[in-house]
C-alpha cells in the first residue's frame, strides 16, 4: 500500500473505455452511462492522489465531482426524456435536424 500507480493505471483504463463508449454507442442513455464511467475514473484518480499527497483536498474534489455528476445526470436524463417524447427514439443519430 505504498504506491498508488496501479490505481492511476486502472483509472486511465476506465477513462479510455468510457471515451470509446461515448464514441461508439448510439443509445443516448448508454452514452450517458459512459460519461458517468469517465467521471468515476477521474474520481478514482483524485482519491488516489489524495492518498499519495497525504491531504484531503483530492477527496473534496471527488466529492464535488459527485455533486456535479448528480446534477448533470438529472438534467441530461430529462433532456433525453424530452427528445424521446418528441421523436420516439433515444438514438443520438436520430436528432440530426440541424444538419439539413
Amino acid at each position: 500500500m505504498d504506491d498508488v500507480t496501479p490505481f492511476l493505471v486502472l483509472s486511465a483504463i476506465l477513462f479510455s473505455i468510457g471515451c470509446v463508449g461515448v464514441l461508439t454507442r448510439r443509445n443516448a442513455i448508454v452514452v450517458f452511462m459512459c460519461v458517468e464511467l469517465m467521471l468515476n475514473a477521474s474520481n478514482l484518480a483524485l482519491v488516489a492522489f489524495a492518498k499519495h499527497h497525504g491531504n484531503l483536498e483530492g477527496q473534496v474534489a471527488a466529492f464535488f465531482v459527485m455533486v456535479v455528476a448528480a446534477a448533470e445526470v438529472v438534467v441530461g436524463l430529462a433532456i433525453i426524456m424530452t427528445i424521446f417524447r418528441s421523436r420516439r427514439s433515444a438514438s443520438v443519430d436520430d436528432a440530426s435536424l440541424l444538419k439539413y
Binding site: M1, D2, D3, T5, P6, F7, V9, L10, A12, I13, L14, F15, S16, I17, G18, G21, L23, T24, R25, R26, N27, I29, V30, M33, C34, E36, L37, N43, V47, A48, A50, K51, H52, G54, L56, E57, Q59, V60, A62, F63, F64, M66, V67, V68, A69, A70, A71, V73, V75, L77, A78, I79, I80, M81, T82, R85, S89, A90, S91, D93
Partner: protein, 273 residues
C-alpha cells in the same frame, strides 16, 4: 492491495461489457458493478466517506435514475448496429486504445514514488477532516453547489413537464368516440377478446380464435406484438392440422367401413332405445 487486484479485473471486464452488450439495461447493471467496486477501492484508499457517498449517490440514486428513464424510454430500445459514419467504430477503438496506452505509459513513467498516506490527515476522523477542508477553504464552492442542485432540480422539472395541449379525455368522451367509430367503420363496440380464448394455449401471447377459426390479432397485448415475442398464431395452424388429420383419416377409410361405423352407431342407438 489484495482488494485492488481482485476488483480491478472485475471492473475492467464490466466496463468493457458496457461497450459490447446490446441492451441498455445490461449496460446499467454492469455500470453498477463498476461503481460498487469503485466504492470498495475508495475504502481501500482510506476514504470511508466517499465509500459511503459512492454507494448512496451513484449506485443508489444515479443508477436508479438511469433505470427509471430506461423504463420510461422502453427496455427494448437497443442500439442499432448501423454505422452512420463509415469506419468510425474502428477508428474510435484504435484511438481509444492509443489513448489508454499513452495514459498508462505516462503514469508508469512518472515514477511518483511512495504515497504519504492519509494516516495523519485522517487522524481526527475522515469526515471531520473533510468537513474542515470543505467548510473553510471550499465553502464558496460548496455554496455554489447548492445553487447548482436547485437549478438542476428546476431544470429537470421544466424539461419533464408536459404542457396539456388538448383537454383531458374523460370516460364519456371515450365512450362517444367508440360509438362513433362503430357508426362510421363498424368497429367492434365491446371489449377486446381475451387472449387464448378457444385457442390451444391459454397464454397471453396466443391470439384468441374467432368463431370462424381465424386468430383475433387484437386480443394479444400490443406490448407483446410490438416486441415480436408473441406467437404468430400457431393455434390457428394447430386447428388446421387437427382438421387436416381428421380429414385424412376420413379419406383413408373406404366408404364401406364408413357406413359400417355409421351402421354400428345407429345399431348402438337402437339398442339404447
Amino acid at each position: 492491495m489484495i482488494a485492488f487486484w481482485v476488483l480491478a479485473p472485475v471492473m475492467v471486464i464490466a466496463a468493457l461489457g458496457i461497450l459490447f452488450v446490446r441492451k441498455a439495461v445490461h449496460a446499467a447493471l454492469l455500470l453498477a458493478v463498476v461503481m460498487i467496486s469503485l466504492a470498495m477501492l475508495y475504502a481501500a484508499l482510506e476514504a470511508p466517506f466517499l465509500f459511503a457517498v459512492q454507494i448512496i449517490v451513484y449506485t443508489g440514486a444515479i443508477m436508479m435514475l438511469f433505470l427509471f428513464v430506461l423504463m420510461l424510454v422502453g427496455v427494448d430500445a437497443s442500439d442499432s448496429v448501423v454505422e452512420t459514419i463509415r469506419g468510425q467504430r474502428v477508428l474510435a477503438v484504435v484511438v481509444g486504445g492509443i489513448f489508454a496506452v499513452l495514459l498508462g505509459v505516462i503514469v508508469g513513467q512518472a515514477g511518483i514514488g511512495t504515497a504519504v498516506g492519509l494516516g495523519a490527515a485522517n487522524e481526527g476522523g475522515n469526515i471531520e477532516g473533510l468537513a474542515e477542508v470543505l467548510f473553510s477553504q471550499y465553502v464558496l464552492a460548496f455554496e455554489a453547489t447548492a445553487a447548482l442542485l436547485i437549478t438542476a432540480a428546476l431544470g429537470a422539472m421544466v424539461l419533464a413537464h408536459r404542457e396539456r395541449l388538448v383537454p383531458r379525455e374523460t370516460q364519456a368522451d371515450r365512450a362517444a368516440a367508440r360509438v362513433r367509430a362503430y357508426g362510421e367503420h363498424g368497429d367492434h363496440l365491446g371489449p377486446l377478446a381475451a387472449p387464448g380464448v378457444y385457442a390451444r394455449h391459454n397464454a397471453v401471447d396466443t391470439p384468441a380464435l374467432l368463431p370462424d377459426g381465424s386468430p383475433a390479432e387484437q386480443s394479444v397485448p400490443t406490448v407483446i406484438s410490438n416486441r415480436g415475442t408473441g406467437r404468430p398464431s400457431p393455434s390457428y395452424r394447430d386447428v388446421d392440422r387437427v382438421v387436416g388429420q381428421l380429414q385424412s383419416r376420413r379419406d383413408d377409410q373406404d366408404p364401406a367401413t364408413d357406413t359400417v361405423v355409421e351402421g354400428s352407431g345407429s345399431a348402438a342407438r337402437g339398442e339404447d332405445a
